[in-house]
């Protein structure tokens, strides 16, 4: 297996007025392609922050993150947008779906954002077909015209996973994907992630629950801003 992500010396400090909290203290991490990595740690240990930095949703104060050998901090705005759009797929604890769009539109959104209007018109049919396939795969084929608020928590999270997979990302980053779900629904989500990983999808999942973390192939523990 080849290395997909390499993070070295990651520092991150949050400042709130005069108070500053150093969340990550020179963290190093390497992730292999095709792996299913769980990052666990107590609340406030910096695991979500690390995930956001790895997915280019946030910037580290110091240190470098290399993706396939390219340093993310060297990316310009345009390349960073492309990276977020095509290379990573994000699944959030609170789903973060757009309430105004239907399930199908939410899933196709990354494909719409991938090019201009003309580009979208030329590949609209294939994108919709792909979105439909993803939704069918997650058991949501009958819910495509529903709005997010008409779905259960588990269904919303499955829509979020489908959206994250829409542009065939090289890596799926899941931040407490079951944190807002009951255990049965959460298990369904974890089953889906396991299945994706079996198909070759690289996944990094953040959780505070050890039991959930054991569904992953590899576990690292974050404490005091470092991997222990």
């Amino acid at each position: 297996m080849s290395e997909i992500i390499n993070a070295a010396g990651i520092h991150k400090t949050y400042r709130m007025g005069r108070t500053s909290i150093e969340v990550l203290k020179g963290l190093d991490l390497s992730v292999e392609r095709g792996s299913f990595l769980a990052i666990i740690g107590s609340s406030g240990s910096g695991k979500s922050t690390l995930l956001h930095i790895l997915g280019a949703l946030d910037r580290a104060d110091a240190g470098t993150v290399q993706f396939n050998g390219s340093a993310l901090d060297k990316f310009g705005a345009r390349r960073l947008n492309q990276f977020r759009n095509k290379t990573v797929g994000f699944v959030f604890q609170f789903y973060h779906l757009l309430d105004e769009l239907t399930v199908l539109e939410n899933v196709t959104l990354p494909a719409m954002a991938a090019g201009g209007t003309f580009a979208w018109l030329t590949r609209r049919k294939s994108a919709k077909k792909k979105a439909m396939n993803l939704l069918e795969r997650f058991g949501l084929g009958a819910r495509i015209t529903h709005k997010p608020y008409q779905l259960s928590g588990g269904e919303r999270q499955r829509v979020a996973i489908a959206r994250a997979l829409m542009n065939d990302p090289e890596i799926l980053l899941a931040d407490e994907p079951t944190g807002n779900l009951d255990s049965e629904t959460g298990n369904g989500i974890l089953d889906a992630l396991e299945e994706l990983n079996r198909d070759g999808q690289t996944i990094i999942m953040v959780t505070h629950d050890e039991k959930i973390a054991h569904r992953a192939c590899e576990i690292i523990t974050l404490a005091d801003g470092k991997i222990v």
Binding site: L57, R84, N85, K86, E100, P110, A113, R163
Partner: protein, 450 residues
């Protein structure tokens, strides 16, 4: 495609969008109505002054007047930019009725009605002689008697509390005694002893409604010859107070007045050796605006004050729209975070919210403009209804010399207001959007989760 879908959905799915439309529409409505009515009142007042006095006035404030006016008029009539010019005699007097124990201080204005009608809107301001203004000073009941026109508020015409005048079919036989103190060319009293004043009986031939309170409530008009006789300006070298001039459409008022000024200087030079040349030194050449400055200036000052107040109102309006948009966009900041997390560029996010703001701005401005126009179209009917039902008038016609409330819509003003509303909507949207779109996605999403 999402750049079209999202703004449209935001508009139709969010109640706050409707509130934003209402805010824009109300602001546009208010500004359209206020600007039209107040701008109309000021514009109408200026137009009435212009209409009643002509484009340019060559005259003097001296009650003595000036001589050789006919020579200057002849010179003016040779100019291709002068449409008409005529002399006017002005002065003060007292008016009473035979056997009455009242008298009234009046201003007298004498002119040749046909010529004056060609320079001003005189024919439209009289009631009985609109078609034949040249006979305006001839009483209909006896054409041999000397006639005069009374400002409508001094005339025997009935007026109701809504300001509507009720005329008889023919003018009343109404005899008036007018007295003046005639002056010599040197400014002394022309008469001596007990018979100081010129007194003459005149008969009401018509009334004049200019819409200018000082004219309608204080002035008596008579023929130029009668006025000159009464004021002591007649004689072998008759005098006038002013020459009123109308220019052709080919020249503007300012340019025309400047040319008249040059001609007047030449006239002064060529007449400097004549007997009454000293009277010419007091004569000035003024545009109608300058001539009526005393009346117009307070109104314009009021207009300036109003513009200031409306500017403040405009700023408040901008602020309201800005705040509404700030709230709308802040409410959607989570969406901005989501869009950024899936790789939507900052420019595209700004585009989405500008499109959203445009929908609100265009619809709000359209509703506000349409409602403003509809309200203005019915404003006088509405005022009549309020008066009928509650005896209430927006402008008490016994105080304000206006007819209908001005409601003429200036389309360019309307366009400016609508475009400004749209621009304000865009500015109100772009600032919070830029702020939100400039943040790291996780910053927005983290705040939204809290």
């Amino acid at each position: 495609m999402y750049k079209l879908i999202l703004p449209t959905r935001y508009f139709f799915k969010r109640r706050i969008s409707i509130l934003a439309v209402v805010a824009v529409a109300l602001c546009v409505f208010m500004v359209v109505v206020v600007m039209t009515v107040m701008g109309g009142l000021v514009g109408e007042f200026r137009d009435k002054n212009h209409d009643f006095f002509g484009d340019c006035i060559v005259g003097t404030d001296s009650l003595v007047g000036f001589a050789y006016y006919d020579d200057f008029i002849a010179e003016l009539k040779e100019q291709d930019f002068v449409l008409e010019a005529t002399s006017v005699a002005k002065g003060f007097g007292l008016m009473t009725q035979s056997g009455a124990d009242w008298n009234l201080g009046i201003e007298i204005m004498g002119f040749e009605p046909a010529a004056y009608a060609r320079i001003t809107n005189f024919a439209r301001t009289v009631y009985y002689h609109k078609q034949n203004p040249e006979e305006a000073f001839i009483p209909s009941h006896d054409r041999t008697l000397p006639g005069c026109i009374l400002g409508i508020d001094m005339s025997p015409v009935a007026r109701d509390s809504q300001g509507i005048y009720y005329h008889n079919e023919t003018p009343y036989r109404y005899e008036l005694i007018i007295s003046c103190f005639p002056l010599t060319a040197k400014g002394g009293l022309a008469k001596a002893g007990l018979d100081l004043a010129n007194t003459k009986n005149f008969y009401y031939s018509d009334d004049l409604h200019s819409g200018l309170p000082k004219i309608d409530g204080k002035m008596v008009f008579m023929s130029l010859g009668d006025a000159q006789q009464m004021l002591g300006m007649a004689g072998p070298e008759p005098r006038a107070s002013a020459i009123h001039i109308k220019f052709t459409d080919a020249i503007g008022v300012a340019a025309g007045c400047e040319k008249i000024g040059v001609i007047w200087q030449g006239f002064l030079e060529s007449n400097k050796d004549r007997q009454y040349a000293s009277l010419l030194g007091n004569v000035t050449v003024q545009s109608w605006q300058s001539y009526r400055r005393g009346s117009i200036a307070p109104m314009e000052k009021e207009h300036t004050m109003l513009m200031f107040v409306f500017s403040m109102l405009g700023i408040i309006t901008i602020f309201i729209i800005f705040v509404v948009f700030y709230m709308v966009i802040s409410h959607k900041s989570k969406d901005i975070g989501i869009l950024k997390s899936i790789g939507v560029s900052r420019a595209s996010i700004v585009g989405i919210f500008l499109a959203f703001a445009s929908i609100i701005g265009v619809i709000g401005a359209a509703i506000g403009t349409a409602a403003g126009c509809a309200f203005l179209a019915r404003i006088n009917v509405l005022e009549d209804w309020l008066f009928d039902k509650f005896q209430w008038q927006l402008w008490d016609r016994s105080v304000y010399a206006i007819g209908d409330i001005p409601n003429k819509i200036e389309w360019h003003v309307l366009a400016i207001i609508a475009v400004s509303a749209l621009a304000v909507s865009l500015v109100g949207a772009v600032i919070p959007t830029l702020r939100a779109a400039g943040k790291q996605p996780v910053e927005i999403l983290r705040v939204d989760m809290l």
